[in-house]
Amino acid sequence: MTKKINIKINILTSKLVLCLLMLFMLSGCSGGREINDLEIVIGMGVDKDEDTGNILLTAQVVKEGEMEKSSGSGGGGGDGKAFWNVTGTGESVFESVRQITHKTGNRLFVSHNHVIIFGKDLASEGLQKYIDFFLRAHEMRPTAIILIAEGRALDVMNAKPETEKLPAMNIAKLVKTYGFTSHFYKVNMKDFASCLMCDSRSPIAPLVGVSKDGDNKDIYMSGMAVFKNDKMVGRLNEDETRGLLWVLGKVKSGVLLISFPNKQGKAAFEILEAKSKVIPEIKDGKIVMHVKIKAESSLSEQTTAEDLATIEAFEKMQKAQAEVIRQEIMAAFDKSRELNADVFGFGEMIRKKHSNKWKSLKDKWDEIYQTIELNTDIEVKIQKTDLLKKPASPKKEEK
C-alpha cells in the first residue's frame, strides 16, 4: 500500500516539476543577457569635466572582433584599436555610467573592470563621494586596482601600449608587477576602502603618468599619492615609497645600490626577501615605534674591480645596505610627517596593541604623530653572488 502511494507520489512530483518547467518556459522568464549584448568594460577613469564641473567618466570597452584579429593582418575597417574609450558625464558616477549607454546602446558590463583611475584634480578634492559606486555596484569586484593619474585619467586610458592590446589590462599588469622594484604598490578597492574607514590611517594609491615621446605615448608609474582622509595631499617618490613598503613588509624585490665612500664604483644588490615587524611602545606618554627588518639580498652587479666576495667586504656591504634601507625609511617617515599623513598605519597598530590608551590618543592623533619616534633595527644578509665569484677584471698582483 505505502509502496504504491510512494510510486504515485514519484509520478506526481516528477510531473509537477515538468509542469512548472513548462510554465516557466511559457512565461519566458529568464533575465539572462546574451554575451553579444554586453559591452565588456575593462577599465574606468573618472575626471572632472572642466566646463560644467560634473563628472567625466571614461569607460574602456573591449572590441572583441579586433581582439581576435592577429596583429599582423591589420586589415579590415577601423583603426586597429581593440578598445573604445567611451565617455559620459553626469552629476554622480552612476548617472554618467548610464549616460554612456546613449553612445553604446548596450549596458556596460563592469564585472571585468580591472582598474579605476581618478584624475588628479578629483583626487585632491576628495574621493569619498566618487568611490561609493565602485564599492556598491554588484558587478564591481573589490580586486579592482585604484590609481591616480598625474593629469587626466582620460589621457592615461588613451595611451595605447605597444605589446598589449588593451591599455587598462596593461596598467593592471604594470601595477601587479610592482615587485620588480617595489617603487610603487598595488592598492585595490578593498584596501583603499579599508584605509578610508580607519580613523588614523592615510590611504595611498599608485600614481600613473603619461610620457610623450613624439607620437608615442607611454605610461609610467611615478610613485604613490598620499591622501589625508579622502583628499590627496602629496606624493611619495620612488625611494620614499620603498621606505614605506619596508616598514609594511611588502617589499618583494628591487635593487639596492650602495656606493663605496673611499673607492670609486658601486655595487647593486637584488633584494630576495624582506620581513618586517613593528612593535609600538608607549613610554611615559611618548610613542616609540620599533621597526625590525630582516632582508636578504644577492650581489647582482658591481662596478669596481675589487673582489667583493670576501667576508670583510660582505660585512661592510651588509651594513651599507642596511643604511640605505634606513635612509629610505626615514625619508618616507619624514615625508609622512611633513604631510601629516599616517601612511604607515602606526595609529592602527597602537589601537590594536594598546586599545585602552588609544582612546585618549585618537582625537589628537595629528599632533601626536609629529612626535613619534622611529627606532629601526635593520639586518641584511647577502645570500649569494650569482654566477661570478670574482669580477672579470685583470688579476691584481700579490704584494
Partner: protein, 368 residues
C-alpha cells in the same frame, strides 16, 4: 500515531545536525554588522550557551521516544494549552522557513542573478524543496552527509586560497565592543544556528536508537560550528575593518581570491555552498512544518499539505519584508526576540514538567 514511518540512524542524525548548523553560514553576515571582528568569539560563546538547551531537546526526545514536538506538547500541556503552544511553534516554523527561502532569493537577487525576477527564484526554490519533502525524511537524512561535505570543503578551500591575504592582526584588540553589542550578537547566534535546532524535536522521534544521541548531537554541533568559525575567521582576517560595510562579507572575501590570475572569481563556490546548504535547511524546516501541521490536524499523511504550504510560504517570503534592510533590521530585533520562549523556555519547562509528573504515562498523558 506518528505520521512519518521512515527511520533514520544515529550517524545520519549527526550529519543532519552538522549540515543544519553549517547552513547558517550566510546568516553570520547578520551578526558581523553588530560584532565586527569579534564574531568568532560570539560564535563560540553561542555554542557554549546553547549546548545545555540543545541537550534539553535531546533529553526531551529521549523521554518521549518516537514522538514529535506536537505530540510532546499535547502530552505535557494537555489538549488545549498544548495546541496553543503547537500553533506558536508552527508560526515559528513558517516564519523561519520563509526567511530562509527569502535568503536564497536575496542572495541571487543581489549577487548572482540580479536581472532575474525575484518571485521566480522563490517559486523555483520552494518547488524543489517541496520535491525533497515529498521524498520524505529518510531520503533527506541519507543524503545529508553530502551536504556536510559541501559545507566543509567550501569554507576550508576558500580559507586556504585566501591565506596569503589574511592579516591576523585584524582580530586585535580582543575586547573592544560594548557589552550590549556582544550580547546582542550572542543572542543572534543562539537563535539562528543553534536555537533553530528545535526543529530536530520533530525529527528525533524517527531516530531508531536513542542511545548515543547526545554524543552525536554534540559532535554534529561541533563540526557545524567549526565550519562557521572558519568562515568567520576568514572574513575577519581578510576584510579587516571593512567587514561591517559589505552586504555579504563571505562573498566579498572570496571575490578577493586571486592566485596567479587563474584562480580568480571563486565566489561561485560560496554561491553554490549557500544555495545547497540553505536548500537543505529549508527542506528540513519544510518537512517539520508539514508534519507539524498535519499532526496538529490529526491527518494520516502530510503529503497532501506540502503543495499548498509551499504556495503560502512563497507568498510570505515575497511579502514579509519590504527590502533586505527591513529584513536585517527586524531579524536582528523582533525576529530573535519572539522565538526566545520557543527555544529556551518551553523545552526545558516541558522536561521539568515531564520529570515532575512522571510523564510519559502509558497512553494519553494527562495535562498539568
Amino acid at each position: 500515531m506518528r505520521i512519518e514511518k521512515g527511520n533514520i540512524c544515529n550517524m545520519q542524525l549527526l550529519f543532519l545536525i552538522t549540515g543544519f548548523v553549517q547552513s547558517s553560514i550566510s546568516l553570520i553576515d547578520f551578526t558581523v554588522v553588530i560584532t565586527e571582528h569579534q564574531t568568532w568569539m560570539v560564535i563560540l560563546a553561542g555554542l557554549v550557551i546553547a549546548t545545555p538547551f540543545i541537550l534539553s531537546y535531546v533529553a526531551l526526545a529521549k523521554r518521549f521516544p518516537g514522538m514529535n514536538l506536537i505530540q510532546i506538547n499535547d502530552a505535557v500541556y494537555g489538549r488545549f494549552l498544548g495546541k496553543v503552544i503547537s500553533v506558536y511553534y508552527i508560526f515559528f516554523l513558517m516564519m523561519t522557513l520563509s526567511f530562509n527561502i527569502l535568503d536564497v532569493g536575496e542572495l541571487y537577487a543581489t549577487f548572482l542573478m540580479p536581472d532575474t525576477p525575484f518571485i521566480y527564484l522563490l517559486i523555483f526554490f520552494t518547488a524543489t524543496c517541496a520535491y525533497a519533502v515529498t521524498k520524505g525524511l529518510e531520503v533527506l537524512a541519507r543524503v545529508s552527509h553530502l551536504f556536510v561535505v559541501v559545507g566543509i570543503i567550501v569554507p576550508v578551500s576558500t580559507f586556504l586560497l585566501l591565506i596569503d591575504q589574511m592579516d591576523f592582526s585584524n582580530f586585535l584588540p580582543f575586547f573592544e565592543l560594548p557589552l550590549i553589542r556582544v550580547f546582542h550578537g550572542i543572542h543572534i547566534m543562539l537563535s539562528i544556528p543553534f536555537g533553530e535546532t528545535i526543529v530536530f524535536l520533530m525529527i528525533m522521534g524517527s531516530v531508531n536508537k536513542t542511545e548515543g544521541m547526545v554524543k552525536n548531537t554534540l559532535t554534529g554541533l561541533l563540526i557545524g560550528t567549526s565550519s562557521l568559525l572558519i568562515a568567520a575567521v576568514r572574513n575577519t582576517a581578510v576584510l579587516g575593518n571593512t567587514e561591517a560595510i559589505w552586504t555579504s562579507p563571505s562573498f566579498q572575501s572570496t571575490r578577493l581570491i586571486d592566485i596567479g590570475t587563474v584562480l580568480t572569481r571563486m565566489d561561485f563556490l560560496i554561491g553554490i555552498a549557500q544555495t545547497v546548504l540553505i536548500f537543505f535547511k529549508c527542506s528540513l524546516f519544510f518537512y517539520a512544518l508539514a508534519v507539524a501541521v498535519s499532526q496538529l490536524f490529526g491527518l494520516k499523511s502530510y503529503l497532501p499539505l506540502v503543495l499548498p504550504l509551499a504556495g503560502i510560504e512563497v507568498i510570505i517570503a515575497a511579502t514579509v519584508f519590504q527590502s533586505p534592510v527591513d529584513h536585517a533590521a527586524i531579524t536582528q530585533d523582533a525576529g530573535i526576540i519572539y522565538s526566545v520562549p520557543l527555544m529556551f523556555v518551553i523545552p526545558p519547562l516541558s522536561l521539568l514538567i515531564a520529570k515532575i509528573c512522571g510523564l510519559p504515562k502509558p497512553e494519553r498523558g494527562k495535562g498539568v
